[in-house]
Point group: C2
Chain length 319, copies 2
């Protein structure tokens, strides 16, 4: 993949037409915000543009996604946003895997699948890059575009909490608010509002909370029974994996999720000095230093014991 | 209280010396951040300055409060920050109630107790005003001062979530980060970290969650038994009162807290179209439109029924 500048992207977008913008499966606020913002900006330039995702776009984003209904045209130039690898494309979007013309992303691990690309792993979110692209393009950012970009930035930074937030991130947020982004509405919707099913699920999950290794390890379960009894949807499990790690004194936070077919999916969150990807690597999984995952296909108590055993060794090795 | 400008405050601070800066009881991040930032800035000008609060400053703020240990001197000029009324002073700080020279505050309800004052109810936090004061004063903001001001802004805005956040708030955050504010560390400490006691308390509280009025009203209890069994401190109850209101469909969220002496303290949080202060006014309490409180001295089930009865009428009156 040939690296190009934002100025070159602006040039390319002026030259071509009939853009299709791809999002990864289980799309999050950054993927959806980036894709819709770019789509709306291209249409403002008089271009035909559309977005495509293999999975459904959650209803909660309708305050900006409703602004850009699908249009019929034959896609000519394919763009991916917030996509680190084409393995994360699903359904109809996956059909474009081998013909992506331009990639815009903020994952340092991006494996370079497109013809040309702009990847900056230091930027908080793909949407923040899209904002800088709009600055270069001289895009007339209206309130719909501003809402989309703001949503991408605030969801991927945990509402300006993570270490990926830079002074420039806050300045981008300030400008987006001046263009009409509904900051308080978006932040409330994304971070301060829970479905009744989600709160019931959280209650059940907290009842399963156990501490091990002198309080350095906390583990919670999400069973299929809990999902059924609470009426929770898949999206209601968002954020639950971070509950155990947030408890003071906990170095390893584990969420054990019962999947169909007797499999257990482990989400592991760790503090700086412990590598979650090493823990999960023991079971054929992987991820980042602070957040990783793996699956173990065993009976519940055995799967759990296997995981605890690896963690115990790691915590003891630390002393 | 004579209203003055930030320029006039800068002038006054240059002229006087031996400053004592007062904080309200149960001091929060905004009070503590504002007071310590101002104290550190005054000392940088070669002045003697100190902070005073009737209650203890929580340990969690030590990353900037440790920078400004107490100094012995006779206070000559008394300043209050983030203080809406002198009723909120306690202990030694209350002794200065009648002789406050300068008030800096962001509460629209400030009742003007000082000789001169700068009050702007549109600004997100007192710390944000302090930042603008430093701009006028030309203060050399070091990392300690930046941490203190950033803490005030982020805690009083729910980490940049509330409607009080303006583009200028984000720009202030950006500049403070450039002066060394540890944004990610502070946000994690204030919003993503819970004591083991607090998570146990939350678990117990969620077990008490009940819905009424077709899901429009949610109520939780904090009993003295829960406080004892979880080992929770008073500060661990922070934020719990907002849990029921965050549930989708809930218009009135109530937290019922058992106090010594057979009294129950109700915290009421409502959505826009219902006035929490009206609900609490029925029981001799008060507060704001979206957040109010009152006490009922009755047997548990009766206190609860009295509150539910008032809320039911209000919700039915809405139809």
């Amino acid at each position: 993949m040939k690296p190009i500048t934002l100025e070159q992207i602006a040039e390319i977008l002026r030259e071509h037409d009939n853009y299709l913008i791809l999002m990864h499966k289980s799309p999050d606020g950054d993927a959806i915000g980036s894709a819709y913002a770019l789509c709306m900006a291209l249409r403002k330039m008089g271009k035909k543009a559309d977005t495509l995702c293999g999975d459904e776009i959650p209803e909660m984003y309708s305050y900006f996604t409703d602004l850009a209904p699908n249009e019929g045209f034959e896609p000519e130039f394919i763009i991916s946003v917030d996509l680190a690898t084409t393995n994360l494309l699903s359904g109809k979007a996956a059909e474009y895997s081998d013909r992506i013309d331009l990639c815009i992303d903020h994952h340092g691990s991006n494996n370079g699948f497109a013809a040309v690309g702009y990847v900056d792993g230091r930027v908080s979110s793909c949407a923040e890059i899209i904002k800088y692209l709009f600055d270069v393009m001289g895009t007339d950012i209206d309130s719909g575009i501003a809402d989309a970009v703001f949503t991408g930035i605030c969801t991927d930074t945990g509402c300006f909490k993570y270490s990926s937030v830079s002074p420039a991130t806050h300045r981008a947020a300030a400008e987006l608010m001046e263009h009409g982004a509904q900051s308080a509405f978006i932040c409330h919707l994304m971070f301060d509002s829970k479905s009744r099913s989600k709160i019931l699920l959280e209650k059940m999950v907290l009842e399963s909370l156990e501490f091990h290794c002198g309080g350095q390890l906390a583990i919670i379960n999400i069973t299929r029974k809990m999902m059924e009894e609470s009426g929770a949807r898949e999206s209601d499990t968002d954020g639950i994996a971070s509950i155990p790690r947030r408890i003071q004194g906990v170095k390893i936070g584990i969420t054990m999720r019962e999947k169909p077919g007797g499999e257990f999916r482990f989400s592991v969150r760790t503090s700086d000095d412990i590598d979650a990807s090493v823990i999960c690597g023991n079971f054929g999984g992987g991820g980042h230093r602070a957040a990783a995952g793996c699956s173990i296909k065993k009976e519940l108590s055995q799967a759990r014991e296997d995981m605890l055993c690896v963690c115990r060794q790691l915590l003891e090795g630390e002393k």
